[in-house]
């Protein structure tokens, strides 16, 4: 017993000493400023379950900073921020969302403040835009299925496979397929519009989904729950990171990394102009991009580290190794904005509705 306490004490001491070693690049002014601010408000679409290890670690590094973490839907983040910014009332210090297009739109409209993170050199070029929007992860967009209900040999291995399966066994899969609702979910919209960009056969897939009366959800979590329970057999465009995490708890969950192409998105973080605690926001951004933070992402949060120098289960490097050219990272850049144009967006959604026969 005493030995265990002793070990714990040593670990604790190490944890207290570590930061100095981990952040040689961190400016003392920034840390001091953040600690003076004493508070950090984050609007994030990252599930609390995945974010928790990062938050815990950050808090252990800077115990004097009180972290307010709001787990919101991607469009909620966007709407709330726009309203708060326009009304000039207080808003978050960091926006961290998987709806890359919406995040970029906010930055593009001049809502971000530039900050050159000391970690910038360790990131792929395409992941940073104008020193404002930072891609923090590189996460696979997968299919997920219930192993109890779908035999191994019936599992589709590509988008084309999936379309064929749904068309051939429409009656079997009726009510049994789930996907994102692009009308309600920002990230859902991003994924299908990117699908359309990459794959000319996307509308065939959409029609096949309509043929089995696909059920639509606002989150991966909601879909995973229902695939896990067997209400749905398979779900399309699942954020693979959450699937991986869920798999640890529920062996019935199976993941498909489609072979023809696999989208990979990046959670974009930026510091808004109206941040009340900008230093704390910058500090947390640096932490997310730091090796220490990214290692936690790769091994505990499982939201796929974007850095090359990080080893672990969930890393961009692994994905590249596995999929090679089929991996299609969605780049952080103004290209993202094209689909957001109001009329284009409504046209797309109308076509989507028609394909789904809603």
């Amino acid at each position: 017993m005493t030995r265990r306490i002793l070990v714990a004490a040593v670990v604790l001491q190490l944890a207290l000493i570590l930061p100095v070693e981990i952040f040689p690049a961190e400016s003392r002014d920034l840390v001091a400023g953040a600690q003076k601010e004493g508070r950090l408000v984050v609007y994030s679409s990252t599930d609390t379950a995945s974010a928790e290890p990062l938050l815990q670690d950050f808090k252990s590094l800077y115990p004097s900073i009180q972290v307010e973490y709001s787990d919101l839907n991607t469009t909620e983040i966007y709407n709330r921020f726009v309203a708060e910014a326009a009304a000039g009332s207080g808003t978050a210090d960091l926006l961290w969302s998987s709806a890359m297009d919406l995040q970029l739109q906010l930055v593009n409209n001049g809502n971000g403040q530039p900050y050159a993170s000391p970690e910038i050199a360790q990131l792929p070029k395409w992941a940073v835009w104008q020193n404002q929007a930072y891609g923090t992860t590189l996460e696979p967009v997968t299919m997920t299925y219930n192993k109890r209900l779908l035999p191994q040999d019936a599992v589709p291995s590509s988008h084309a496979d999936f379309t064929r399966l749904l068309n051939e066994k429409a009656s079997v899969f009726k009510d049994k397929v789930a996907t994102f609702d692009p009308e309600k979910s920002g990230v859902g919209f991003l994924l299908v519009t990117q699908d359309l960009k990459v794959s000319p056969a996307f509308w065939d897939l959409a029609k096949a989904l309509g043929g089995v009366e696909v059920k639509v959800y606002t989150s991966t979590g909601a879909m995973l729950e229902r695939v896990s329970s067997g209400e749905h057999t398979i779900a399309y465009n699942i954020i693979g990171s959450y699937g991986l995490l869920r798999q640890k708890k529920d062996p019935a969950i199976g993941l498909v990394f489609p072979k023809d192409y696999m989208l990979a998105f990046s959670r974009i973080a930026f510091i808004p102009k109206g941040a009340r605690h900008p230093n704390a926001g910058k500090l947390f951004l640096d932490y997310l991009l730091s090796k220490r933070g990214q290692e936690l992402m790769a091994n505990k949060s499982l939201i796929y580290s974007i850095r090359d120098d990080v080893a672990g289960e969930a890393t961009a490097a692994n994905l590249t190794k596995q999929l090679g050219k089929a991996l299609k990272p969605i780049e952080v850049g103004p290209d993202l904005l094209t689909a957001l144009d109001k009329t284009k967006r409504l046209d797309f959604l109308k076509r989507w509705q028609e394909a789904l026969k809603r």
């Binding site: 599930d47 309203a83 708060e84 009332s89 309600k184 920002g186 959800y217 209400e231 967006r345 789904l356």
Partner: protein, 556 residues
């Protein structure tokens, strides 16, 4: 302070609290862009846009059909239940009665979620039925399923008014029919229920109105299949255009109010009629309940079955989901039992804060709301003149506003109006929205209590030399203190149960269990939802138990 100063202040505060959100909604609906957008100008653009949306028409049609369907289920069943409990010798009726009102105090989101786990496509009850029949004989995610559940869970609302009205009838009327040879059913359908027809009509209109305000049930049960009602359409509009489209949300909100307001007004007219009927006689003398004869036990079985369906089934679903890692087809429940979900709750500061905030808003907020309602009720207490009549209509306004909309309006108000902006991320913003949403209910509770104070008790103090404020302080309020405690308990439960009002106000500092559940529902964190739900049900259950022990009447 003198009453002559205090009264206009109270009146002004109430009018502001009620009309400011409504006014902002109306104003926003007449703009071409969100109110904070410099490009916003006055126009009917938003109305034209919404009215041209097929989704809006579908949502409107669904809302109407659901309202109609649930009224057609709840009104007859509630009336029958009222007759059975109030008038017959149904075995165990005294024991059953408090349970009948329990669904009123349960959060619809929690219930809906419970139904998913219990009787959803792979719910444990469905799987059991499947093993029995080879297929699942019902379909939860369907129009019919939604209507059935909405109807069954609103039976208590009808029961409440019908049983109260039936108790006001002189039993001699029924006894006279018995003597001439009528059986219990003939008495029910030809004497008792026709006599309380206004109460049935009133509660039917109430259920119809509530149908348009449904949010939790369609959100959970209708959304995956793309079944939209007006409130979920409004919720969806938050995201539809990819830019904040407040003007469109405001139009839908106004559309909902345009339907609910006439309904509320109609109800108020009906209430007048039903109270005229209610004084039929009845000296409260002991009477012999009508014997049901051979139907005694089948009727008890029916009531118990209904209770199982609307209370036990969903709660069992919630409770079960909260202690398993996974569930559904092919899962052996014993293998996946866990208490991790409850343990993990404590790792999320926002959830812990949500639980604490829920208790705060129910306890302190509820007490403050009761104080506000009391102040308001007293400001019109036994007074002639304009204000009491005005107050009567004032409280109708929030009744026509679904919590979701009030929450939205207050969210805007706290954004819009700079002096109160710092309060947005405090529980105060939530408290005022809750207080406005439950205004009609609260005022009804307090005035019912005040009515029991005999006017002479107050007049005696006046004549002796106490000013009106002193009379309130020394006589009126002390006399109703037990009533106030009861009201507080009821408001506590309503505030704990509330979920839709906090949806738009949810942020760091304003988390409460109800709106956290709605928000988490979007992210699919069912482990946490189930644990939170169980905690919410336990809090409400404890309050309910206390209320019953104290003899608080739930049917106010």
């Amino acid at each position: 302070m003198k009453l002559s100063i205090l009264r206009p202040l109270v009146a002004l505060g109430a009018i502001l609290a009620v009309f400011a959100p409504l006014g902002l909604l109306l104003y926003q609906s007449l703009l071409s862009a969100p109110f904070f957008d410099p490009a916003a100008r006055a126009s009917f653009e938003a109305y034209r846009y919404i009215l041209a949306q097929p989704d809006f028409h579908r949502a409107f049609g669904s809302s109407f059909l659901i309202s109609l369907g649930m009224t057609l289920i709840a009104a007859p069943l509630g009336s029958l239940l009222g007759f059975l409990i109030a008038r017959t010798d149904l075995p165990g009726r005294h024991w059953l009665e408090p349970w009948i009102l329990v669904p009123v105090f349960l959060s619809p989101v929690v219930m809906a979620f419970g139904y998913v786990v219990a009787v959803g496509p792979v719910g444990f009850f469905s799987l059991w039925a499947k093993s029995l029949f080879g297929f699942v004989p019902w379909k939860l995610y369907s129009f019919a399923g939604l209507i059935a559940i909405a109807g069954l869970t609103h039976v208590p609302h009808v029961f409440l008014y019908v049983s109260a009205a039936l108790r006001g009838i002189d039993p001699a009327v029924e006894e006279a029919a018995r003597v001439t040879g009528a059986g219990p059913w003939r008495i029910a359908f030809t004497i008792s229920l026709p006599l309380v027809w206004p109460a049935i009509l009133f509660s039917g209109a109430l259920v119809f109105l509530l149908g348009f305000e449904l949010f939790g049930l369609p959100l959970v049960l209708g959304d995956p299949a793309g079944l939209l009602v007006l409130t979920t359409y409004l919720y969806k509009l938050t995201n539809l255009l990819g830019v904040p489209s407040y003007q469109l949300m405001a139009v839908v909100a106004i559309a909902i109010v345009a339907i609910t307001f006439p309904l509320v007004y109609l109800q108020r007219r009906l209430l007048g009629a039903s109270s005229r009927y209610a004084v039929i006689g009845g000296k409260g003398r002991a009477f012999r309940p009508l014997p049901l004869g051979a139907l005694r036990w089948p009727m008890t079985a029916w009531v118990v079955l209904w209770l199982l369906a609307v209370v036990a089934l969903p709660l069992a679903g919630v409770a079960l989901r909260s202690v398993v890692r996974s569930w559904g087809e092919g899962v052996v429940l014993l293998d996946v039992l866990t208490l991790d979900h409850f343990r993990s709750l404590w790792q999320y500061p926002n959830l812990v804060r949500g639980i604490v905030n829920t208790l705060l808003i129910g306890g302190l907020g509820g007490a403050a709301a009761v104080a506000a309602y009391t102040l308001l009720a007293l400001s019109a207490h036994r007074l002639p003149g304009l204000w009491p009549a005005l107050l009567d209509y004032l409280v109708l306004v929030p009744r026509a506003l679904p919590g979701l909309i009030v929450g939205l309006a207050f969210f805007w108000l706290f954004l819009f109006f700079k002096p109160i902006a710092p309060l947005r991320s405090t529980l105060f913003s939530l408290w005022i929205a809750y207080t406005v949403v439950w205004l009609a209910y609260g005022i009804k509770l307090i005035t019912a209590t005040l009515m029991q104070v005999k006017p002479e008790l107050e007049e005696a103090a006046r004549v002796i030399g106490a000013s009106p404020l002193l009379v309130y302080r020394d006589v009126t309020v002390p006399l109703i203190r037990f009533g106030l405690v009861g009201s507080w308990l009821l408001i506590f439960m309503m505030f704990v149960r509330e979920y839709s009002t906090g949806v738009y106000l949810l942020g760091p500092g304003t988390e409460v269990i109800g709106s956290l559940i709605v928000s988490l529902w979007g992210t699919g964190a069912l482990d946490l939802i189930s644990a939170l739900s169980v905690i919410e049900v336990l809090i409400v259950g404890l309050a309910l138990f206390t209320a019953l022990r104290l003899g608080v009447k739930l049917d106010a």
